[in-house]
Symmetry: C2
Subunit: 334 residues, 2 copies
């Protein structure tokens, strides 16, 4: 391997083979990958959960993670939120010419570690190289297949009075990435929450079954955008209480300096669940059984009072409507 | 929709919703997509074929196709070559800020048409927008799931004496893209061969069963690279005959002017098959039953004479070894 990735590594010839065989395959070793055909043959099941996501985060290394970890967690979490047990991943790189081989190695190591932790196998992949100035270091796409374990999760299952639960502090990921972009402007210690949610989600599904209405990981657009998605059909509204929403003090401080709203800032290792109110405390205690869920809390409820609207109650008793943002609070966050 | 894609369309907020709901969903309408969660739930089967590919072709419109058609065919063909019947696709865009909305619409139209033709449903997707100068208009990743129909296809199944078959003229796609890049330099009429190969491949598998050893679509690196991949384990070699390899006269002419070798130029709608020699004529006639297979031909055979080497025989009786290229003949071709 050369020290920098050149266009030749994307040619499909000897250098492409070297990149795949020397760097990618040894680190992602499993039976399905060993043949290196363009398609992997895997065992299926009756119902599958299937998802894809591209990752374009800038910078690609940030406190608490990197684009490799993110690209595994993002797809693992999307499958988990849809009620699936993640099993197989595809992995596709678009690398900019001149990318340091050592950085690629570090990203691949991170993919392997995270895939192991999430119990998924990378079974098929692709590598393209584009000219200098036609990318931004590295973009990664993953897709994933899971086996359906908790069926019928959907915003349509939400009922009046249901509890809204979050598994931990919100906005850590987006704020950590913004800190990495502005390290000369703000000095603070903060790690992304980036983590696989499969265990938490499976356990919640097993325990609550039909009393779990819907789960979602609040990535782009954060908590407020995800809650708005739950009520988009206009049947019901949501009310949440500022005092109950866990926010890390550093996230609050940095958000104030940078002019961000943590309720709209991406998480990459948090889940929001809507449950039957009678099961809410049980759900919170399931979540708190996991290190990443230790700050889980009920933050509000589903209401018929203001259909289609998310209202955030302040400690003083006032309320404000938090709509979807039109555009970008934070671009290139995942 | 605005006339140009801005960063706001990648924010996860209202503009992202508008882009997805107004442009992408109506054109790719199917039951699994209607809910727009991050994961789709689909029906599985015992054995699945799973593949992914990113598409970075420049220019993104070319004679005979565009990046949308290519991104469906590429994954459909990888699944088909692995013995699968393609069923479901994921679709992920990385769009550069400022991309014309009309071009995006045209690409999505093309995706829909090609997906219909290939009998696949787009069931999950993702859209990211990166800043101007951090991409090249549009990159697309697709992954796909198929049900395994022809098991045990593998280069390991190849035996001495087996026939090597190609389904049509080679190098049309790469040459057409090069023409589109150099339209002021060379004037010629040529279309990419870009097409879905699922029907041809399924029929070949059904007809020949175990007498079909392996199939592959010769994309990056073309015919010569793919044949080299078949013999990488060093057990056997391949001999092919120049006079039998179908090449379009325009491809020959343009290749001479641009200094390309059509045997190393990408196809996106051709397949190479290795079969039991006793079934070779039958295989050719199966392929000729399809419009895209009308120029199918036996072009050579598997030999024990020069293990690990591909030898191309000239009409004069001479021979040359055609190894994998080290680097790029044509970058950004798919």
């Amino acid at each position: 391997m050369d020290n920098f990735i050149t266009l030749d590594y994307g040619s499909g010839g000897k250098k492409t083979s070297a990149l795949i065989s020397d760097m990618i395959v040894p680190l992602l070793k499993n039976d399905a990958l060993s043949e290196l055909g363009d398609g992997a043959v895997i065992d299926g099941a009756e119902k599958l959960v299937y998802s894809t996501d591209s990752f374009v985060v800038s910078p690609y290394f940030f406190p608490g993670g990197d684009i490799g970890k993110l690209s595994v967690c993002g797809t693992v979490n999307d499958i988990s939120m849809a009620g699936g047990e993640p099993k197989y991943l595809s992995l596709a790189f678009i690398i900019e010419e001149g990318f340091p081989t050592a950085d690629l190695q570090r990203i691949i190591d991170s993919i392997r570690l995270t895939a192991d932790r999430a119990g998924v196998k990378v079974v098929t992949g692709d590598t393209k190289v584009v000219e200098r100035g036609r990318g931004d270091g590295i973009y990664i796409n993953t897709s994933g297949i899971g086996f359906l374990r908790t069926p019928s999760l959907s915003p349509r299952m939400i009922r009046e009075g249901d509890a809204v639960i979050v598994s931990g502090t919100v906005g850590d990921h987006g704020t950590a990435v913004m800190l990495a972009r502005n390290e000369n402007l703000v000095q603070a210690e903060l790690k992304s929450d980036c983590a696989p949610l499969h265990e938490m989600a499976l356990k919640l599904g097993e325990t609550l079954s039909g009393d779990l209405r819907v789960m979602r990981d609040p990535t782009r657009g954060g908590l407020a955008t995800t809650l708005n998605e739950f009520i988009e059909d206009g049947r019901l509204g949501i009310e949440i209480h500022e005092k109950d929403i866990p926010v890390d003090p550093t996230v609050n401080m940095v958000s104030e300096i940078l002019g961000l709203d943590p309720y709209y800032t991406a998480c990459e290792g948090r889940l929001i669940a809507v449950t039957d109110p009678a099961r809410a405390e049980e759900a919170v205690s399931v979540l708190r059984g996991f290190e990443d869920g230790k700050n889980a809390a009920v933050i509000g409820h589903i209401t018929a009072d203001h259909p289609g609207k998310l209202v955030i109650r302040t400690p003083m008793g006032g309320g404000r409507i938090a709509a979807k943002l039109a555009g970008a609070q934070l671009p290139r966050i995942c």
